[in-house]
Symmetry: D2
Subunit: 243 residues, 4 copies
């Protein structure tokens, strides 16, 4: 039995209700598909935008080791105080995995400190996601690349801080590349951005995409340690007399 990790999968859950096409791909919502794909030990919850407090109460967040985030058409509807709550939990150690169009979510932009803008195109293009760091735990069990027959294109320049570790880089049929798997630390929390997952494609049923997300959950799980002390501090060594 491996480490127990409590995961909350958060989904905007609007596209699925607004579009027949999306609903036909994800009849139970994208969050359900993502949650079903997780191969981890621990409790798996889902939460969505239109629940009270977006399903992200203090109680839920305090019991969440890793939060997965998918949002797109309604980033602006996420309340600032809930964003602040998630942000503070990340700094205290909660892992955060931001998927696809979540690059423009309030929480990701707040943690990155940059615009997180990019190029995009919806043209049913082939994406090939290459592993550039084969020793990284997020690449475990993945072949040299993941091929997705049809996806939305995201292209550079992707306006993010340089990742602490870059694990995946995408190739797109139309001529672009993209840093698709990016690791960061913010406070005591780990953040992973993972590119694929446009709502009109069955990407979150792909076994290798699911494997990457499960790996990322394990990588992002909090470390068991006391939180650092900040503020005014007594000297640890005797300071010599000053004149």
């Amino acid at each position: 039995m491996s480490q127990s990790i409590n995961v909350t999968v958060w989904n905007e859950y609007r596209h699925e209700k607004a579009s027949e096409k999306v609903a036909s791909v994800y009849p139970q919502g994208m969050h359900t598909a993502i949650a079903e794909g997780l191969e981890i030990t621990g409790q798996i919850r889902t939460a969505t935008l239109d629940e009270p407090e977006h399903g992200l109460t203090e109680e839920v967040l305090n019991d969440t080791d890793v939060l997965i985030w998918w949002g797109h058409m309604a980033h602006g509807d996420v309340q600032d105080d809930i964003v602040e709550r998630v942000y503070n939990r990340v700094l205290k150690g909660m892992g955060l995995i931001v998927l696809h169009s979540g690059h423009f979510s309030k929480i990701f932009k707040k943690l990155m400190g940059s615009s997180c803008d990019l190029k995009w195109r919806e043209a049913d293009e082939k994406e090939r996601i290459w592993v550039v760091n084969p020793g990284h735990p997020i690449a475990e069990g993945i072949g040299e690349y993941i091929e997705l027959p049809k996806e939305e294109m995201y292209g550079e320049h992707f306006d993010i801080p340089q990742p602490d570790e870059l694990v995946l880089v995408s190739w797109f049929e139309g001529g672009e590349v993209f840093r698709s798997g990016c690791c960061y630390t913010r406070g005591a929390g780990k953040v992973f951005y993972f590119r694929p997952g446009h709502e009109t494609y069955p990407t979150y049923f792909n076994p290798q995409v699911r494997k990457v997300i499960s790996n990322a959950v394990k990588w992002a799980a909090p470390v068991n340690r006391e939180y650092p002390k900040y503020g005014n501090a007594q000297p640890l060594e005797t300071i010599k007399e000053k004149n």
Copy 2:
């Protein structure tokens, strides 16, 4: 003649007016001492909190290549729209050098995406700032370390993202260490955090501290290139017919 760089030195400029002790160290304000220490080619301006728009009008910022920031007791008085203005200029390429207690400024926290908290102590301690990256341009002309006989202590954990490049690490008499010279990129802009400079010490008259700041200005100056295009993009290659 080297590259011409327009610098604006921004100072809160409140301590100097509120405290005789500080005024005796920096009678013309800390911004003046910092500005006088710059050995660069280009226009050097100063700006302070109590000027209209904090002295940071659109016109001033658009004509600023590198902005230097010192603030401490009045971070909360900096208007959010001016912070946003500085932030957008940094992403577009303006360099930013954040000094000492500026670690808690709105602009630095916004660019870092973390709490930027730390330990501190005012006890007239000796600080020794070691160069850990001797090939870095910010270390040019600096010896193995800079010794400051009395400074405020800042100690780890310093809650910042891992620097893209770590150039300086401080030793303190009372037993702490601190990452004192930290390089980042945000958007097209470069950001350098430099630790020393408590308002009650003549740190900004120290020739080596001045040399570091001048080096950092040169390092952070914008690169001359077109800004990337973001948003919806046409394919660069022919995308095959889809069925």
Copy 3:
């Protein structure tokens, strides 16, 4: 039950035989003390310089997930072909933890590509090892710092490549700082350098030092995946006719 990891603890094992002082601290050799301190699941072996093939046969290395290395007075006696063997295993995924004076071992210098030189002093100084990355798995269960009452000093500049992740920074009584816990990836293998452990001090009996080494073993364990293919490659996409 957590992941099973096979560890080999390699020790030069010369000081203990040549010096009564060292023998009194480590009567069974430093390798034994290090091995006994490991809190992991899996097989723990030791190997020493004066065994045939230094105890590092192909068979032993192929069955080793993580190798721990302590050497000092006899770096030159390590055969080049054994160094090459260890090097190739690291690139294929074996973790390597280099301790203290191992900074000057052939294998560490070969993996770093730099001189790995530093300052040093034997003066019974207090060392305080600060955690600068509290979310990192190697910092699990460690307080804000580890205090060692007497150790050899190592000081900057430490001539290593910038670590992929910097976890620990030391403060020394005599006025120096040192990057004491440094993470790297080479090929598919992970490398961790950990500073403390001079042969005349009982450092490897310290519970927090042992905890760091155990954490590092878990962090450095190989990822379960196929090794990348290199060399001439067929195109994955049709390349258009050229004229």
Copy 4:
């Protein structure tokens, strides 16, 4: 007038003599084309494999600020003592720019500490080199990407240490990506790997490729400072009496 930088362009210079095709592209040798493309202030030399000491005497190297390296078919013919000489100069501060098939040169592998292996294919493929770090000085004056109509393909996994800064990523027609512009520091020296430049294509006449190389020379030029002191060191602070 900007900083004066002495550059030595080193070329294996065998393909040009062995192949009519290569000679027709680079009638004066690739080194001459590269040297002619440099827009810098300072002395520009060339040196080739078949000169005495490969043209890299102590005198030449000591007068070289940045060395550019192109090699391919005769890596094994480069003498180990000359490699050692170049290596020592890099650690002391000389910049090194390694081009294309130089990824497998002795000097690059020695500085990287990994195999530097990769995928490759000669199929007249289009390469598009994307800027992923638009604020980096090596990207100055470059558009969003450089398009080369025909080049050799290099594909991931490229077995290098994670770059300190990643500036360029290539897209290839046949389906691969590659980290094409990679920055490192080794000792006091800066190292830049730049991918394009197969001997059968006129890549080093491309104005944007030339601009990248010129930018890299400026970035890699040594910093003007004293070299760190290593070895046994006196304490900077009084160490308390030990019992």
